[in-house]
């Protein structure tokens, strides 16, 4: 796999560290009543076969956190954005 980092250009997969599903959102409340949300966030995964947004850290490069959109069946990569832009877009939509 080759990943096009917005800062560094096209780089090989071994420069990146993956950290799973980027679409899940951390609950904002500490209220015990929100335990179900926390349970979902910490443990449950959609685990899609196909298009998937995932966190990737460019750990051996610019060290930016990115979100890579990739097909989990073919490993084809559709899109790479910084995690910050991903989060901004999510807030906006």
């Amino acid at each position: 796999m080759l990943i096009k980092c917005p800062h560094c250009g096209t780089r090989p997969v071994e420069e990146f560290t993956f950290n799973g599903d980027a679409s899940i959102q951390r609950p904002t409340s500490n209220d015990p009543a929100t335990m179900d949300q926390w349970f979902d966030y910490v443990y449950l995964r959609d685990n899609p076969k196909g298009r998937f947004d995932e966190y990737a850290h460019h750990s051996s490069g610019c060290r930016a956190w990115l979100v890579v959109t990739r097909d989990t069946q073919t490993h084809e990569i559709f899109n790479v954005v910084t995690a910050r832009d991903y989060a901004k877009k999510r807030v906006a939509s």
Binding site: D21, F39, Y43, L44, F52, T72, H75
Partner: protein, 416 residues
């Protein structure tokens, strides 16, 4: 037909042209008492024990591809019961006991070989951790021996004992661990289940699960609707997808794990050896090839092939452990998709849906579990309650805070 030396002689005389097929190739019936999704080791073992131990033979195993095309035929064949935690250890030891009698039990040569599994340690704290694990094993009646560097050297003199970064300080040895011919496990269970009336239906992909008022009534497949009273999911690697057909979301991610085999060599490594400073495990097949593997590639995947960086990484770890490996040529590599659960331990449980049972989350250690998993899952399905050996493998343990986390690392889908 019972396989024996006499059946072998008889068929030798007829030039091995008259062996009957080991199992039938039936069309699905309209309905069954129990349907199992997944014709891997666990699904087939479940069907076998349902028929043999519980007398339930109106069973179908639905496999989307050919029998044994999944992880049961892709793993590195290692069996062991060297776990530490109470929820795990008695279960894996029961599996080891079943392995010990399996070939006589299902009348099939699975080449069960208790050649010993040795885990190397490279630091003092690691040796302490091994001593602790060995003691935990012995409390549960499992064999464990702590070896010092000399003890290891007697067994495997060609290891890199004085490696500058990872000197070998000793190891923990389970002599009863070893290897089993993986395909033969699938075939043996399939034949044993089939001869007791179980229908094994290949090329039959489940595409939907039908429930009525919270109760399972059957499955939609590419061969039409198949009704059932009880449905067991044993779709290793695809568990999330299959469970989602019934509206369940699991604490699981699917990841790819690669394995490798070298060209054939003369007898070299007569047991299983694992590196303690990286993830690498190796044994030698009866054909002479070194069979070895390492860690998952590290990203979610449903592609049964990995990437080259992990190939390089695994081989680096191997050469750090056995410098002589640098001169061995790799023949093949392949990948399999596994359910990585959030605590590295499996799930064998009932679900919130009546008649729906779940067997999932085996990470990359589920081959050794095949007999006990089938045994416990069959019990759970037949009695609608858990066996004491799988009592800790509940699906709701994550919510309740009762994870079985052998590594003590907390929730993450890269444990095993």
């Amino acid at each position: 037909m019972k396989y024996s030396v006499f059946s072998l002689l008889k068929n030798t005389l007829s030039g091995h042209k008259k062996w009957p097929a080991a199992w039938r190739d039936p069309q699905p019936k309209k309905d069954y008492e129990v349907v199992i999704i997944g014709g891997g080791g666990h699904g087939l073992a479940t069907a076998y024990y349902l028929a043999k131990v519980h007398g339930i033979s109106n069973v179908a195993v639905l496999e989307k591809s050919w029998l044994g095309s999944g992880n049961v035929g892709r793993n590195t064949t290692i069996i062991r019961s060297n776990y530490m935690l109470p929820g795990n250890n008695p279960f894996y030891e029961w599996s080891m006991k079943l392995w010990e009698g399996l070939e006589q039990d299902f009348n099939f040569n699975a080449m069960v070989s208790q050649r010993g599994v040795l885990n190397l340690c490279h630091t003092d704290p690691q040796r302490d951790a091994f001593a602790r694990r060995g003691n935990a094993m012995r409390i549960d009646g499992v064999d464990a021996e702590l070896l010092d560097a000399e003890g290891v050297r007697e067994m495997y003199p060609f290891l890199d004992f004085n490696n500058a970064r990872f000197p070998i300080k000793g190891g923990i040895l389970q002599r009863r661990g070893g290897t089993v011919r993986h395909d033969a496990v699938a075939w043996g269970y399939a034949r044993g289940a089939d001869s007791r009336g179980v229908d094994i239906i290949q090329n039959c992909e489940v595409t939907g699960i039908k429930t009525v008022k919270g109760k399972v009534v059957g499955v939609g497949t590419n061969k039409g609707f198949i009704g059932c009273k009880k449905l067991g999911l044993a779709a290793a690697g695809n568990s999330s997808e299959v469970a989602a057909m019934a509206g369940l979301k699991l604490p699981i991610e699917s990841h790819v794990l690669q394995a490798f085999v070298s060209e054939g060599l003369k007898p070299y490594i007569d047991g299983v050896v694992t590196f303690g400073a990286g993830h690498f495990y190796v044994s030698q097949s009866d054909k002479g090839g070194l069979v070895f593997g390492g860690d998952i590639d590290g990203y979610n995947s449903y592609a049964r092939r990995g990437n080259l960086p992990m190939v390089e990484h695994v081989i680096e770890a191997g050469v750090a452990m056995i410098p002589g490996l640098a001169r061995v040529r790799v023949l093949r590599s392949w990948g399999g998709i596994m359910d990585m659960s959030m605590d590295g331990s499996p799930i064998i449980d009932k679900t919130s849906i009546d008649g729906l049972y779940l067997n999932a989350g085996w990470c990359y250690g589920g081959f050794k579990a095949t007999p006990a998993s089938g045994w416990c899952f069959a019990h759970t399905i037949a009695h609608d309650e858990l066996h004491k050996l799988n009592a800790a493998y509940r699906l709701d343990r994550f919510r309740r805070g009762y994870m079985i986390d052998e590594k003590g690392q907390g929730a993450s889908p890269n444990l095993h």
